[in-house]
């Protein structure tokens, strides 16, 4: 098992990258009154057919050829279901894939969200050819990071520029702290 929800998000988003997505949307929404945490990872990658969608939650299904197991989605599903929540996969060939997981945060089996800032930072800076929209919400407060907006401002200055990557890290950490009211 991956010990944090944010590590599961990183892992599942890697599938979107392999699926050749050009835009990946990640939403992390907490509803404190209902004790719910909803995670959505949506991409415009190659998508999967019905048979693949059905088998993607099976640990003995994988698209890779090096080995016969694939644990990313099964881990994520198990983590959500342990809390009384669920995981849904919607996909269409040529359109994209949407993975949605709901965690009941008052369950003793609910793993911590963990360091979601580092997950998003890793995804954004390591895959600058892909656009990301990340939305973090706690009840009615929240913030958005949209790499398309950033790239428009930056022009030919890349995310690998140390000042830019520092900015992205700080943007994530500071805005998350503010949303949490810290």
């Amino acid at each position: 098992m991956l010990p944090e929800i944010s590590l599961n998000i990183l892992d599942v988003a890697e599938n979107s990258i392999v699926a050749d997505a050009s835009l990946i949307k990640i939403m992390v929404e907490t509803d404190t009154s209902e004790n719910k945490l909803k995670v959505t990872i949506e991409d415009d990658g190659c998508g999967m057919n019905e048979e693949q969608v059905a088998s993607v939650v099976d640990p003995f299904f994988t698209s890779r050829t090096t080995r016969k197991v694939g644990l990313g989605i099964p881990f994520f599903k198990q983590a959500a279901e342990l809390t009384g929540g669920f995981l849904n996969v919607d996909s269409e060939v040529g359109v994209g894939t949407k993975v949605e997981a709901v965690f009941l945060t008052d369950s003793i089996d609910c793993m911590p969200l963990g360091n979601i800032c580092d997950t998003i930072f890793t995804l954004v800076t390591m895959n600058s050819h892909i656009d990301f929209v990340y939305e973090y919400k706690v009840d009615d407060k929240g913030f958005v990071l949209d790499t398309r907006e950033m790239k428009e401002i930056l022009g030919d200055v890349g995310f690998d520029n140390p000042e830019v990557s520092d900015f992205i890290r700080n943007y994530l950490y500071e805005n998350e702290a503010e949303v949490k009211g810290m």
Partner: protein
Amino acid sequence: MKSLEELKAIRERMQGQVGVRSADSSDTRVVVGMATCGIASGARPVLNTLVSEVNEKKLENVTVTQTGCIGLCQFEPIVEVFEPGQEKVTYIKVNPEKAKEIVEKHLIKGQKVEEYMLHKGAEHKGYADFVKFDEK
């Protein structure tokens, strides 16, 4: 709320600056395995440490990238260093502290950190058996 205004300032500072360069074949590539196995064993902080160390030390000829499963899941987090014209060096069971050491010793001073390398670790961890199993 932190806004994107700061980015405009960064962009203006960077404009016209020489030294904006893209990766080429003379670069040293540092590759971190980031599949489920790598992530589960702690590859995310390793990758982020490598990126910030390389930035901080201004190692302009080093690119840090990620890859999928390298195939040696029990040795994750794995960091591979590819230097042009040299054999690949594989570091196993890396953590952020070891990553810093690898940057300091290998990438800056050119001394491989033998004790974290695959062939060293394998002597104690039955690597030969693993390879035999894998070939079956």
